[in-house]
């Protein structure tokens, strides 16, 4: 497939790029051939995104050469890249939710008649294009009306249609469930067969082995290796990425916390119409409850109801045996709850504020504005958590938006730990962060429940859930469909519960 004689589709040599104070890339080589899926891997901050931004014309390189099918190229802006046939799909910033699906696909190259956009033809073309990938949706509806998965597929369809040569997929699967990933991969294989070169960035190693022909690993802005997938066993890959052996993950055993303490909170017949079917849930001290299910199954909805972001319209909450009010996050916080949302950027961090301010925010909000936390105390709290959670920042006064994803996640965790909560809800705490931070967060989860804190952890990673949960609540179709206890917990049993084939525990009441 990859003929050595014919010039590579894309060839980068000695690329360097630095920002004030940081060498983001130095002397990186990268080669992409036609009809291959090339995984680009590395921890957060390794330089993947910078390399991609150089490739797509968002950043100018400081040094190095770029050749496209043997011709030297120089990119000034994303339009240049688009013209040369380099298309990109990003994890977060993808398309324009306020435009229709068809407009998104054809933005900048709409079919026109007499100078006016031929909307009918555009819709027809868009429908045909998506149908080619097995997607049948209303192309005249706003893109924002569709799920992230559909949006992502539309983004790929646009990029592939736009650029017949190179497609860059920057963590496109980060918020998709297994079935959606499968749909996407079918699409990727189709494109690969058409001869496109595809650059694939991801954190999911399974996916790499499923679809990539070749793997290039970056670390600290440098190239550490480029291998055919078949020649690179998983363990070696992890070693390349981390630069060390990670015994901890491999030896993860089923070490649970000290078991259940007293009953801390219980939800009875708690639910909201058209949002989540009523459920019962007891939370004990020092317990880790895993919440499993596919994306959209009601996992995040459960968290949002418990945390008062959405207001339940039936049922009651008992905290320490007394009925409690849960109309807003502030009520939940007053009861000693905490919640690390999945969408860090829009629901978690307050970007321009410093790491210190982000960490003390919830504590301060709970104390009320009139009693500020003294500056020295703020500094002490922030520094303590920076040390304890190993948050990598040069300065606690640095705006949090300048930190990497994993460190932002840890700072958010610190925000809640500072309030010393009784119940902490973590929604996908390990999503989109690198392997090292991942292991650290799992270690933290164990440590926390060891100290008597109750944890609700939402995760798509069944292995992970299995490792730390005392109990697993399984959801499907916005309903709590089952609950697994200590010995029953395994990836297999969870999947069975989700699928509803062989639920080991009596199913909960179905909603009316």
């Amino acid at each position: 497939m990859n003929s050595a004689r014919q010039p590579a589709l894309l060839d980068l040599r000695g690329i360097a790029k630095s920002f004030p104070g940081v060498h983001a890339l130095s002397d990186v080589d990268f080669t992409l051939h036609k009809g291959e899926v090339h995984a680009l891997l590395g921890e957060n901050g390794a330089g993947k995104s910078t390399l991609i931004k150089v490739l797509t014309g968002i950043h100018r390189r400081d040094a190095g050469t770029m050749h496209l099918e043997g011709q030297p190229i120089d990119l000034h802006d994303p339009a240049d890249a688009q013209r040369l046939g380099i298309g990109t799909v990003y994890q977060e910033v993808n398309l324009l939710p306020n435009l229709t699906v068809a407009e998104n696909i054809y933005l900048g190259r709409q079919p026109t008649r007499l100078g006016f956009v031929d909307r009918r033809r555009m819709a027809r073309d868009a429908r045909a294009l998506l149908a080619g990938y097995g997607l049948d949706i209303d192309v005249n509806a706003a893109l924002g009306d569709f799920s992230v998965a559909v949006q992502q597929l539309v983004a790929i369809a646009r990029a592939a249609d736009l650029s017949a040569r190179i497609l860059i997929l920057d963590e496109p699967t980060a918020s998709l469930d297994a079935q959606e990933v499968a749909t996407m991969f079918a699409m990727v294989r189709q494109l690969k067969a058409q001869g496109l070169g595809i650059v694939f960035v991801t954190h999911f190693l399974d996916q790499v082995y499923e679809i990539a022909n070749r793997i290039t690993v970056l670390r600290n802005g440098r190239l550490v290796g480029s291998h055919a997938t078949a020649d690179l066993p998983r363990l070696d890959l992890v070693r390349l990425m981390l630069g060390k052996e990670l015994a901890e993950i491999e030896s993860a055993d089923h070490a649970h916390g000290p078991g259940r303490g007293g009953l801390c909170a219980s939800f009875r017949d708690f639910g909201k119409r058209r949002y989540l079917a009523p459920f019962d849930l007891d939370i004990h001290e020092g317990e880790v409850i895993g919440i499993a299910g596919l994306l959209g199954s009601g996992r995040t909805e459960t968290a949002k109801l418990i945390f008062g972001i959405e207001r339940a319209d039936r049922g009651e909450v008992l905290v320490d045996g007394a009925s409690a009010r849960l109309a807003a996050p502030r009520d939940a916080i007053a009861l000693g709850f905490g919640f690390c949302p999945e969408d860090r950027k829009t629901e978690g961090i307050v970007g321009e504020l410093s790491v210190r301010e982000n960490i003390i925010l919830a504590l301060q909000a709970r104390r009320g504005w009139i009693k500020p936390i003294p500056a020295a105390e703020q500094k002490r709290i922030a520094e303590e958590f920076v040390r304890r959670l190993d948050i990598r920042t040069t300065d606690i006064e640095k705006p949090i938006e300048l930190l990497s994803g994993g460190n932002q996640q840890k700072a958010l965790l610190a925000r809640w730990l500072a309030t010393n909560p009784r119940i902490l809800i973590l929604d996908e705490p390990t999503r989109g962060i690198d392997v090292g931070a991942h292991a650290e967060i799992i270690r933290l989860i164990r440590e926390l429940c060891g100290r008597g804190m109750s944890l609700l952890v939402i995760s798509s990673e069944l292995d992970e859930i299995t490792v730390y949960s005392d109990r697993v609540v399984v959801l499907a179709d916005r309903r709590h469909v089952g609950e697994l206890r200590a010995a029953e917990i395994s990836p297999r049993s969870i999947m069975a519960a989700i699928a509803g084939t062989d639920a080991p525990v009596a199913q909960q009441e179905r909603p009316a």
Binding site: A79, Q82, V93, P97, G108, F116, G296
Partner: protein, 335 residues
């Protein structure tokens, strides 16, 4: 029906409702004369508001429209009467000047990364100041063409008139609809207002679009100025003070979001008519003192915004309910 069109429908519905209420109290308001007046009297406002719609959808704001209108009237009066320029030359010339002026503001906004609010505020001072440099007097335009143009109208039953400037406004609104919804440029404007970064990544040149949007707004303001100059046959440096706020209100009443990315030219048109209707109603009433006029206008604005919000909220909730009930697990929940 598409959910995107909801605010537009609400606006039109409210217009019809308000008109019906007015007509119930003053039957004479339901005449061709009043309809003709609505179109003629608000022609310049409507034209400027079309430009403002583009600016606001692109995520910006333009405070200079009133001043540009005033400058246009003064320029035309001076150019036609003192300099003896032919209208065929003066009209394109002033539109060209305005286009350049708007493009300049767009360039400052884009390249100096300054908020449009401030840049166009400076533009407002500049244009208004430039009027004073030409003349501080109110100058009548005596050119015979003006008489011909203002004398041109279609007679409607009941003494109503569909004037040339009303036709110009209807034309601009139509072209605005075409430009916004049926050209690539229009899609770029939406894209820029929806998410400038994403639009840039999709290959849209933000700078060029920004400059074009502000040039378009200033150019349309100049056309509004020409219309205003025909409307009054004069040039006056204090004309159209505060028109920028009227246009912004019309655009917002028309269902366009000030945060950008969503809106309709047709909605703006309805917004302009609603404001005109409120004024007509107050004149028909004729008992309000100056201060009560202001208070009532404020209250009506409030009532309208409130009604709009309630309707949109109710429909959105219904729509969300249907989506959640019908396609749980596939469609995302609005948070």
């Amino acid at each position: 029906m598409n959910r995107r069109h909801l605010p537009l429908l609400v606006t039109i519905l409210v217009f019809v409702l308000v008109y019906a209420l007015c007509a119930a109290q003053y039957p004479k308001m339901l005449s061709f004369r009043v309809v003709g007046n609505l179109l003629t009297d608000n022609a310049f406002l409507g034209i400027a508001a079309v430009g403002m719609t583009f600016v606001i959808i692109s995520g910006g704001i333009d405070l200079s429209v009133g001043a540009v209108i005033a400058f246009t009237t003064v320029f035309l009066a001076v150019a036609l009467d003192s300099w003896g320029l032919a209208p065929g030359l003066a009209f394109p010339l002033i539109v060209a000047i305005a286009l350049l002026f708007g493009a300049g503001m767009g360039a400052v906004i884009h390249y100096l990364k300054t908020p449009p609010f401030i840049v166009t505020l400076a533009g407002m001072f500049l244009a208004r100041g430039a009027c004073f440099l030409l003349t501080t007097d109110s100058v009548p335009v005596t050119h015979p063409l003006y008489g011909t143009l203002t004398g041109f109208y279609f007679r409607l039953p009941g003494g109503g008139r569909l004037s040339l400037i009303a036709l110009v406004m209807l034309g601009v609104v139509t072209l605005g609809i075409l430009l916004l919804h049926y050209t690539r440029f229009g899609a770029r404007v939406y894209a820029l207002g929806g998410n400038a970064q994403a639009a840039r990544m999709m290959g849209i040149r933000a700078g060029r679009t920004t400059i074009l949007v502000y040039a378009l707004s200033a150019g349309l303001s100049a056309i509004a100025g020409i219309v205003f100059s025909l409307y009054t046959s004069a040039g006056y440096s204090l004309a159209a003070v505060g028109v920028e706020l009227d246009t912004i209100a019309a655009v917002v009443i028309g269902g366009t979001l000030l945060s950008g990315g969503q809106g309709f030219v047709l909605g703006t048109f309805a917004g302009v008519l609603i404001q005109g209707l409120i004024q007509t109603y107050i004149t028909f009433d004729g008992t309000l003192s100056s201060w009560w006029t202001k208070i009532v206008v404020g209250l009506l604005l409030f009532a309208f915004i409130l009604l709009h919000r309630i309707l949109v909220y109710l429909s959105a909730r219904r729509a969300a309910g249907i989506a959640a009930g019908g396609a749980a697990g596939v469609r995302e929940q609005p948070a």
